[in-house]
């Protein structure tokens, strides 16, 4: 099993070496980049938005219900919701959700192309299939995913605001002043960097698993599942590492 792990890791880095070769034609690359950005990022906006609004609302209720102490200012609810969203939810939680959506999309697409010989056909034409198919996906997801972090952050705060407004669980003015209290811009940068790294891992691992899929439809399903499991574990591991490196 350990031997298999090292072989797979080596193959993954060799795969990345093929992927990160100069595109054959930049015009084709940019066309693919825009298509992939639309397919992988823009199509995730609705999912991320819905989840963010609800999580923002839930965070407000949970935080407020755990702060009954009269010595604690109710403004802290807004502060804690903001910090929870930007530090953990908008990057790590959203990345875990995207591992399922984007990861399975990439792995199954490339896997089916592999088993129907479409990848062989591209290679036979003399085109670097890994670079043509994978590079636009990886770059689109890595570069544009911070936009999802910002969107998730804004909508999470909005979700919280809606709950505060509708339930009056805390005064709206307190929630608003909590959101503004001790705002650290660096946390936004930290969250965006984390998300980019997570999304690079999600897309490249899914692409690796899909590109080398074998064993028919069952193999495609297996590679998709494996890519999601590996991505989720790595996201949590790297969350710890990046947080240690950037916040302490």
């Amino acid at each position: 099993m350990l031997r298999d792990f090292f072989i797979q890791t080596g193959q993954y880095f060799l795969f990345l070496k093929i992927v990160f070769k100069k595109p054959e034609k930049w015009k084709i690359f940019w066309k693919q980049f825009i298509l992939e950005a639309d397919k992988l990022i823009v199509s995730s906006v609705v999912l991320v938005s819905v989840i963010s609004v609800f999580i923002g609302g839930v965070l407000v209720i949970q935080t407020a219900s755990n702060m009954n102490n009269p010595f604690l200012d109710r403004m802290l609810v807004g502060y804690m919701v903001r910090e929870s969203l930007i530090l953990e939810f908008c990057s790590t939680m959203v990345a875990l959700i995207l591992a399922g959506k984007i990861g399975s999309n990439i792995a199954s697409e490339l896997g089916s192309m592999r088993i129907t010989e479409q990848i062989d056909a591209i290679e036979m034409m003399g085109v670097n299939s890994a670079s043509f198919l994978v590079l636009p996906k990886v770059l689109a997801v890595t570069i544009l995913s911070p936009l999802l972090v910002l969107l998730s952050f804004v909508l999470g705060l909005l979700g919280g605001w809606i709950v505060v407004y509708m339930t009056s669980i805390i005064p709206l003015a307190k929630y608003a002043s909590g959101l503004k209290y001790c705002f650290t811009e660096f946390y936004v940068f930290y969250s965006c960097v984390k998300m980019s790294i997570f999304c690079f891992m999600i897309s490249s691992i899914a692409a690796f698993k899909g590109y080398y899929a074998k064993g028919g439809a069952l193999g495609v399903g297996r590679s998709s599942t494996k890519s999601i499991v590996i991505s989720c574990i790595l996201i949590l591991m790297f969350d710890l590492i990046i947080t240690q490196l950037m916040l302490y």
Binding site: K25, M113, T116, Q118, M124, M125, G126
Partner: protein
Amino acid sequence: MIKIEHLYKSFGDVHVLKDISIEYQKGLCNMIIGASGSGKTVLLKTLIGLLEPDRGSVTFNGKDISDLPYEEKKLFRQNIGVLFQNSALFDFATVIENVMFPMDFFTDWSRKRKIERALYCLERVNVQGNEKKYPGELSGGMQKRVGIARAIALNPEYLICDEPNSGLDPETSIMIDQLIHGLTKEFGMTTVINTHDMNSILEIGDNIGFLHQGRMLWQGDRHSIFKTTCQELRKFVCANSLARNIMERNE
């Protein structure tokens, strides 16, 4: 001309190809025939460089592509048109985009010229009027024809077809055979077809190699196949009633 010399290929302990030597001439429909599992697809994939041989060589007009550096190998591959078993059309592209795909990468032609060439290729294989459809909207026979159109888009010197008749009805199958045969003669290509369809062999087999358990046991044309003394080949040929009748009449 394609020349294969003393080719060996194994997967672990399984020896799939054993000492294969054969020549494929220009302007002919060269065929690799044999039962399922005889090593035909492995031979074809080794021929086009998708698999590396363990031993032996494959030369195209005297040039061994396995020796070439990656960039040169890529350039050389533009000379080879391949029709895969299930056509391998790109799901993400329309019919015309599939045919234009190699032109987009390897020519500096204007869009108008690329469209004209793609339309010519599609017309040549009789699938005009379906340019904007996606592969999933086409029948198996039409997909094969689009696959052929894509394979000849850059006017290649070599055309390699992996079981072009699989999954097709007899009428469409003959149409595809005649199309490949016609294109081979028209463009003077070196065509290699991998098949176990006896009707195709009798229809267009100019130069036939019979593969049995990884060995090339017999080589000849579609006329001499009925006079063979190779028992394995006789068994293969006689599995088809039409061919059996011809063989019995000859005897």
